[in-house]
């Protein structure tokens, strides 16, 4: 799994935000389009692609795609 691939997949889930506006260090919750549904969408996305289920708390604490990436790596290592 590459960070760039994850950023791209997350960016695809935002309909109104230009893709180039979402980078590895974008604070997702600061995006105008962000809603609580995006937390669910990202959890489902990661489950589908990486077979890892993030908890609600992890999604609350994660700010950027890089944070999410690090959680996935950590969970994969502990599997």
């Amino acid at each position: 799994m590459q960070l760039t691939e994850l950023v791209q997949k997350i960016a695809e889930e935002f309909e109104d935000t230009p893709k180039e506006q979402i980078t590895a260090i974008t604070k997702l919750k600061d995006l105008e389009e962000w809603s609580s549904m995006h937390a669910l969408i990202i959890i489902a996305l990661i489950d589908n692609h990486y077979d890892i289920i993030l908890t609600g708390e992890e999604m609350i604490d994660a700010q950027t795609p890089t944070d999410i990436y690090n959680i996935i790596l950590q969970k994969q290592a502990n599997k």
């Binding site: 609580s36 549904m37 669910l40 489950d47 589908n48 993030l54 609600g56 609350i60």
Partner: protein
């Protein structure tokens, strides 16, 4: 020959007042009517008037069952009432319902408090009563008036929940073995994990009174101890983790595969969650029931409402093998495979 339990008939009742997305969008101005429907799959929900209780909706659904399916109420010999609010601290509401529904006196009647898993648990209890010879016709009433417990400013719950009740008659039938394709309620997988991810804290013995003012928790979720609180993201994670495994386990127990199932009827939580589950398990759309656009999430009534609609549409036909699954407050979950 053996005695089996099967679902003989279902009717349901929705209260007449409608809460549509336009009305909600006027209150929650950062959402539009279209965006609410897109997020939830729900266009409108039915809501009870002040003073109308879960047992009132249950009575209406039972009357519809007796009329629509020509069922003699005097044949009912056990009454199960599933709700999250009751008429009195005591007596048991099911006892009140015996009298209101003019059922026989020589019947068993009891309440049980469960939410979105309630219908599955009701089927498991009814099956146990029938197979053990205790009862022959179990009237299962699953009813929800959760909109009475939602804070008016909590958009996360007000956009999802609707009120409604379902009456299901589960009856005994003598079957020859193997029972494979004969009408019956099959094996169950049940589960429980006590958490406060969905909770209404006050109004009962542990917290008769508490913090009255609404406040936001760490996730920014709206909280009030006087109203239903739901940690939506945690619930979603729980559903993704538990439900697909439960489905595989119930299929394994029944010695079936996903392809053997004619129809999947899950608790109608919201459109997004149902679609996520369907995709994760690889169930084709034509075998997966989604029925909440015009009624919302009706908690313990949602599965029988969706199943009754699937019967009307010919999707849940006589002899169809249907996988039913409920999951929610508790946390509590359950699944079974039935042949209609």
């Amino acid at each position: 020959m053996s005695i089996q339990a099967y679902i003989k008939a279902i009717s349901y009742y929705l209260p007449p007042d409608i809460l549509d997305n336009q009305t909600l969008a006027e209150q929650f101005t950062d959402w539009t009517a279209q965006s609410i429907e897109k997020k939830t799959g729900i266009a409108e929900r039915r809501v009870v008037k002040k003073g109308v209780l879960a047992s009132d909706l249950a009575v209406k659904s039972a009357h519809k069952l007796f009329e629509e399916h020509h069922i003699n109420r005097k044949t009912v010999d056990f009454l199960l009432f599933c709700a999250q609010e009751y008429d009195y601290f005591t007596p048991t509401t099911a006892c009140v319902l015996q009298q209101k529904l003019e059922l026989n006196q020589h019947i068993g009647a009891l309440d049980y408090n469960l939410g979105c898993s309630g219908f599955i648990y009701g089927l498991s209890l009814a099956k146990g009563l029938i197979v053990s010879g205790i009862a022959s016709n179990v009237l299962l009433l699953t009813s929800s008036t959760l909109t009475r417990m939602l804070h008016p400013d909590d958009k996360a719950t007000r956009t999802i929940f609707g009120d409604g009740a379902a009456a299901t008659l589960i009856s005994a039938v003598a079957s020859s073995s193997p029972i494979n394709n004969q009408p019956h309620i099959g094996d169950f997988i049940l589960g429980t994990k006590g958490t406060d991810d969905i909770i209404l804290k006050n109004r009962w013995a542990r917290h008769p009174m508490g913090k009255l003012e609404p406040y936001a928790d760490k996730s920014g979720s709206f909280r009030s101890d006087e109203h239903l609180f739901m940690r939506g993201t945690n619930i979603f994670v729980f559903i993704l983790k538990v439900v697909p495994k439960m489905i595989l386990r119930v299929l394994e127990k029944a010695q079936l595969t996903l392809a053997d199932i004619d129809l999947f009827v899950f608790h109608q939580a919201n459109g997004y969650i149902l679609e996520a589950l369907r995709k994760k398990m690889g169930v084709p759309k034509e075998k997966f029931v989604i029925h909440l656009k015009n009624c919302g999430n009706t908690v313990s009534a949602s599965i029988p409402i969706a199943l009754a609609e699937a019967q009307k549409a010919g999707r849940a036909y006589k002899g169809a093998r249907v996988l039913l699954a409920g999951f929610g407050v508790g946390l509590s979950w359950g699944a079974t495979v039935v042949v209609l």
